[in-house]
Symmetry: C2
Subunit: 358 residues, 2 copies
Amino acid sequence: MAVPRTGPNLTKIAAALGVSSATVSNALSGKGRVSADLVQKIRQKADELGYVPSNAGRALRTGRSGVLGLVLPDIANPLFPQIAQAMEMAASNNGYGVLIADSRGEVTTQTDAIGRLIERGVDGLIVIPRRGTRIGAVGCPVAMVDTPSTPGNTVSADHWEGGEQIARHLSDLGHKKILLLGNDPASNVQNDRIGGMKAALGRDICHQTIWLEPILRDGGTTASLKLPYLVESGVTAIATVSDLLALRVLTELQTAGFRVPGHVSVTGFDDLIFSPVVTPALTTIHMDMAQIAEIAVAALIAEITGTQKIKSTTPQQKRTVPDTVMADTSRVPMELIIRSSTGPATPYQTHIPNGETL
Amino acid sequence: MAVPRTGPNLTKIAAALGVSSATVSNALSGKGRVSADLVQKIRQKADELGYVPSNAGRALRTGRSGVLGLVLPDIANPLFPQIAQAMEMAASNNGYGVLIADSRGEVTTQTDAIGRLIERGVDGLIVIPRRGTRIGAVGCPVAMVDTPSTPGNTVSADHWEGGEQIARHLSDLGHKKILLLGNDPASNVQNDRIGGMKAALGRDICHQTIWLEPILRDGGTTASLKLPYLVESGVTAIATVSDLLALRVLTELQTAGFRVPGHVSVTGFDDLIFSPVVTPALTTIHMDMAQIAEIAVAALIAEITGTQKIKSTTPQQKRTVPDTVMADTSRVPMELIIRSSTGPATPYQTHIPNGETL
DNA sequence: CTGAAAGCGCTTACAG
DNA sequence: CTGAAAGCGCTTACAG
């Protein structure tokens, strides 16, 4: 004997009205094979009884769960709120739910996370891969959100172009000596951002790139960056690959007595929650996550309802065909947000840290 | 004709081995009614075929989906990553999945969000309510994560006690004139934090509370706070209810030429991602989200598998019994994290904004 | 220890 | 336009 449900089901509505459950199903799904009259009566009865369809029954029958899995490299990532919010919105607008899984920054955990979602019967997967990771065939459509430079089909913001915008902005302000600050040289996203910056800086602009993470890993500290020294030797702008890095630089400079943007301009990336709130507010690049999410979700749904017409409720393991979904790499444009952390380049002047000017 | 699955199912394993699917089911679920020999053979065959159980089939049969819903007031909340990560971890450790829904800060959307999750057949709900919201009976167990002062059963960090810790820390450092800075006076959490601070400050300590959000709503700006004026009139510490607010205050003070903690100490709350990264790093209160998540998930699972032995696959609407879950309000302790944004109180000295000392 | 059977709620191809 | 029937994959009470 299986577990009965206490709520009303199709059969109960059918019984209450003296019709067949097939008719109730057809009426409620609006497939149009039922007379307007009956549809009306059935709808009313369903409302009256507080009918809510059973996902399990439907999923078992149709082979589709109506749920998408979202795999995140590390939920602690400050960009995650934007991502999750956009994905949830895009999915729920299309009648899908979103199941989350966190891979805590590790590749094996990423595989586990994907496995857990597959076991839960997701119809498709949105994966924000750990840097450099490739996803094998998993038995359901996969949309990757990464950089355009990642091999394979992905949706993503055009990080390179964002880097170009930042660089042009600084260049327009007259900066001639710029520090480009990255964190992790193994990150595709960060490389694209820095690459775009470099590409957009003219020959007349002197720039230097520093990656922070390797310095920290070798036991260095942020102090090893010698920001005050760099500024005194003529750097008038510091372009970073992330608002978090920009915040670090900004507050460090302020503590050392430099003014931003008076002495140095600072830029970030991602328009994180705190960026408009700090003083000076951060000039940054905002990505249209909503659009990225819509593209990813639409691609997934097209694949789910199209090509894979006959799809199992449960995953087919050991599939050989790759099933990543996007027809092509989609690039979503970036928007430059100019706030007060950037300003005209000011010629170098001798300056003693700690706030006192000579 | 229903949609066939391409992957192996119980029946295929059974057929391959010449046993019944009931036996396969019993063997794989380890209920112990099958001989060790057979269990061994069945397990092996299942692995060989790459068997993954169908959630839909199981859910339909057992009336349980194995999924918990997480309703967030606003995914953009900077604390959300910590919450989602902890919940996902606690749930998946217990064999449950987590479906997310964002209520975008609005009450009606919160109701919609809950509705969507219920329709997806979640077995239980974790709700981080929009401030002041009560959740009606929804037909499945609900765990609320809020302040202990919220009426109803909740798990939460002990925000009051966190406020006390901060206040004691500042008091121990010798601060005698403290500004308590809140954002939204309608927030239970923020009121608890401020309440705790006040309670722990001795009679000899002068304090004033300012709520920022009403000022901003009336068209004021952060500048209306007149932080420089307050500091010059003797405030040596500013205790805020959030790291975001602390960051705002910190950078504004720095821009105005004050040193933190030299001239003023600043504290936050929540230990957000940027807090250890800014200079000076923020002294704050860290909440043990993992523990909160474990309590909430455990309570939910107890309710799901216990009391409600016979539970429908789909929600029963219009239930009359309240089904909030926690036996009692659980309070999780807070941890004070002392970083460099706080230091000994320094006596007031005349100081001209903009970095020049007389 | 093992199996036959029922049934969870739904949808769809088919017959009328 | 409407209904009877089958079946998606699973688990469990029951019989042997």
